[in-house]
Amino acid sequence: MKTVKQLFAGLILISLGLESAQADYTLNLMKGVTKVSNDIYDLHMLILWICVIIGVIVFGAMFYSIFHHRKSKGHQAAQFHENTTVEIIWTIIPTLILVGMAIPATKTMLELNDVKESDMTIQVTGKQWYWDYKYLNTDIHFESHLDEASEKAHRTVGADPRLVPHYLLNVDKPLVIPVKTKVRFVLTSTDVIHSWWVPDLGWKKDANPGFINEAWTLVEKPGTYRGQCTELCGRDHGFMPIVVIAMEQPDYDAWVKKTLDQQKQKPDLSDQTREQLMAHGESVYLKNCVGCHQINGAGVPGLIPALTGSAIATGKWESLDGFLRAGTSKMPKFDKLNGKEFAELMTYVRNNLGNNVGEILQPKQTALPDDDDE
């Protein structure tokens, strides 16, 4: 027994050492940056303290009994086995506590549910495995994927995630909202059920395919707030983070202008070197293909075909192009990519991932007529 005790003492010391080494953790729920999240925090603390007090009383009585009412101390067992008064008291008191809890909880629930009188609406669409944000009544519409550094690190054996800033909690294009503005979210999905959660906003809401959920937030403080998908949505469920940046109104307006300008820009269809095509192609691949076909193009046996040596991938580029634009029952269509991205992606897939077709494709070859228009 002595060695066992030493073992545990050692373990506790190790765990304390670990704690002090990493300052970036929290033990409790975060207060968040909205009124609702603060109300939820208060509810959480209230019920937590109620539980602690009940726990101290009940466990206190139990451990008092364990220490004093033991046979080894010669305690004689009493033989009582019921007491109606006591039993009624300990039924009624918890009931009253619960009624007391229900009142603030109901208030917060009603507040959380009140999506009326919002100033703007953002449509959030969960997709395997990224988020699609559309600012309703504007032209702003973009996808938000896990950033490339995290994407590469979590798919590379031996990579050190500690070197990646905001590992798994960073995206390429964050959602941007203005502060002090009631933002309404409508949430849905195009494939499986996802759930959109940013702890600092105080809530999560499921994104169900074919149905629309509503939620809202009103952020007081500018800042960057991070979260994750919280409903199991397949193999890369752990890799679809959310980043919300709340900005002061002037900054937000500037962001809107910049984003709209960028979206209006036509893709640059000028020729690229092989190296450029391959490097850009890797980015397109990491964003759109890697979730299923994997970083080495090997696919998943029994579920997802390999790209390495695939007849479609290494055959005529025109048929691959048609295949990607049309999709299949298992694979979504990728007509959202522009001509430039098609050239980059196909060049990458056909000359990497264990394939070596040799030829490269230039954006002008793969661009459709309307790629130039929009």
Partner: protein, 547 residues
């Protein structure tokens, strides 16, 4: 208290001689004896406990450090899915059915279960079901990996679940049929085969809780079978129960699943309450406090379990009236559950307690289950659940109600009744070592998960942000110690069956145990056939006043 009564070795000798166990291994295949079947159930459950536990070890190994080290994310999802299915349907539920098989006839003075052949069949269907489920691990595309809840559309997706789905569904059907047959058998036995002297309100709490649990099983297993059958037709026959594009609704599945799923969690905890209510009085040397309120609390919890299911889906998008109703209904469960905890505490109060291994596990159960109950109460507050839902806080909560609750009580039951069943005493020193290792490591394992969840770590992810690293590592260390400690239990079971300490146990085994239950009036080890004539009197210490 003269409970031994009619039972008499010499008297029964002639009968026993003709109907002893069959010779050889075939005995275990064809047996209709409740003790043999109980043993089969318990050993099978123990084996599955280690299978499901190994899967948990894979999960904790992958989560030991951030980054993906050992397994592919899809396999990780298979592990979380299969760990849950194996533990729920292969370990915890069969273990309690095993205890019911062994103990209910002994406790109510019945010669055997009411339907012995069906008893045998329900065991072997369980084995078939679990093997079928386990076989999916070796199939193209791997085992189901959409979570044990099998939510569509994920579980129907060709890129997510390969060939495993129909096998998993058929396995659920088999397990459901097995459970329903077991439940029918238990109800029939309890209602028809009690010793004439035993009224319903004289029954030991373990029998009461199982009677109520059996009704829950009959009510909800068909619901689950129906839900998965709809998955099957959606997948293979182009129906659209859950397919929004065809006019269906994926949220409908969640409602149906949790209409099964919530009573299911009580199916795993009510018999736990029953065993705790049986063990604590013996070691407190006092009658159970509040017998009648225990029965009523159990019945109310069972009733409430049917009308609170949507608290598993507060964030799914329900009308405000639904959110509020399910919040209030869920909060109410705290009242009867509280009554139980207070009753156990009052049972210990002013007792003359000793702390043998079964009592230690039972006390740990009361304390740690109550902690799981506290987090359950926190989660019942719907707005707060918008933060807790689907995080490690939930993982910590339900593991507190399952591992240091159901599993600990199953361990306690093993230590408590093994001497009775085998006639051998287990090694108390190793038992206590097993207890202390388990109770410390289970807290190192699960307590930090509260912090992880509150800090924002979602459940069912194979890799995580750096700020979650420390507590995950501590949790994993706890997990490995807990896993390894359970090998001690395996050793103790083996050792006790083989002879244990060599100490001859008395019929009572535990001091004055015969005041608390009929089984302690039988010889140790329990003969192959018992109560061929029912006992004429039953211990009714808990209801003295009403007699």
């Amino acid at each position: 208290m003269s409970a031994v009564a009619e039972h008499d070795d010499h008297h029964d000798h002639h009968d026993d001689h003709d109907h002893g166990p069959a010779k050889g291994l075939l005995r275990w295949v064809i047996t209709t004896n409740h003790k043999d079947i109980g043993t089969l159930y318990l050993l099978f459950a123990l084996a599955m406990f280690f299978v499901g536990g190994s899967m948990a070890m894979v999960i904790r190994a992958e989560l030991f450090e951030p980054g993906l080290q050992f397994v592919d994310p899809a396999f990780f999802n298979s592990m979380t899915t299969m760990h849950a299915l194996v533990m729920v349907f292969g370990a915890v539920m069969p273990a309690f059915v095993g205890l019911a098989n062994w103990q209910i006839p002994l406790m109510i003075g019945a010669a055997d279960m009411a339907l012995p052949r069906m008893n045998n069949m329900s065991f072997w269907m369980l084995v078939a079901g679990v093997l079928l489920l386990a076989s999916t691990l070796f199939m193209e595309g791997g085992a189901p990996n959409g979570g044990w809840t099998l939510y569509p559309p994920l579980v129907l997706q060709p890129i997510t679940v390969g060939k495993a789905l129909p096998f998993a569904i058929f396995s659920v059907h088999l397990l459901g049929i097995s459970s329903i047959m077991g439940a029918i058998n238990i109800i029939a036995t309890i209602l028809n085969m009690r010793a004439p002297a035993m009224r319903l309100m004289d029954m030991p709490l373990f029998v009461w809780t199982w009677l109520i649990t059996a009704f829950l099983l009959i009510a909800v297993m068909p619901v689950f079978a129906g839900a998965v059958t709809m998955l099957l037709t959606d997948k293979f026959f182009h129906t659209s129960f859950f397919n929004a594009a065809g006019g269906g609704d994926p949220v409908l599945y969640e409602h149906i699943f949790w209409f099964f799923g919530h009573p299911e969690v009580y199916i795993m905890i009510l018999p736990t309450f029953g065993v705790a209510s049986t063990i604590i009085p013996v070691f407190a040397r006092k009658p159970l406090f509040g017998y009648a309120s225990m029965v009523w609390a159990t019945a109310s919890i069972a009733f409430l379990s049917f009308i609170v299911w949507a608290h598993h889906m507060f964030t799914v998008g329900m009308p405000i009236a639904g959110e509020l109703y399910f919040m209030y209904a869920t909060m109410i469960i705290a009242v009867p559950t509280g009554v139980k905890v207070f009753n156990w505490t009052a049972t210990m109060w002013k007792g003359a307690m000793t702390f043998e291994t079964p009592m230690l596990f039972s006390i740990a159960f009361v304390v740690l289950f109550t902690m799981g109950g506290f987090t359950g109460l926190m989660m019942s507050i719907a707005p707060s659940d918008f933060q807790y839902h689907d995080t490690y806080f939930i993982v910590a909560h339900f593991h507190y109600t399952l591992v240091p609750a159901s599993i600990f009580i199953l361990m306690a039951a093993g230590y408590f009744w093994l001497p009775k069943w085998t006639g051998h005493m287990y090694n108390e020193k190793i038992g206590q070592l097993h207890f202390w290792l388990s109770v410390i490591s289970v807290n190192i394992l699960f307590f930090p998960q509260h912090f992880l969840g509150l800090a924002g770590m979602p459940r069912r992810i194979p890799d995580y942000a750096i700020q979650f690293a420390d507590w995950n590592m501590i949790s994993s260390i706890g997990g490995f110690i807990f896993g390894a400690s359970q090998l001690l239990f395996l050793y103790i079971v083996y050792d006790t069956i083989k002879g244990g300490t060599g100490e001859k146990v008395t019929d009572e085994v535990w001091e004055d145990a015969s005041k608390h239950g009929l089984e302690w009036t039988l010889p140790s080890p329990v003969p192959y056939h018992t109560w061929t004539t029912p006992p004429s009197a039953v211990p009714t210490e808990h209801v003295l006043d009403t007699h």
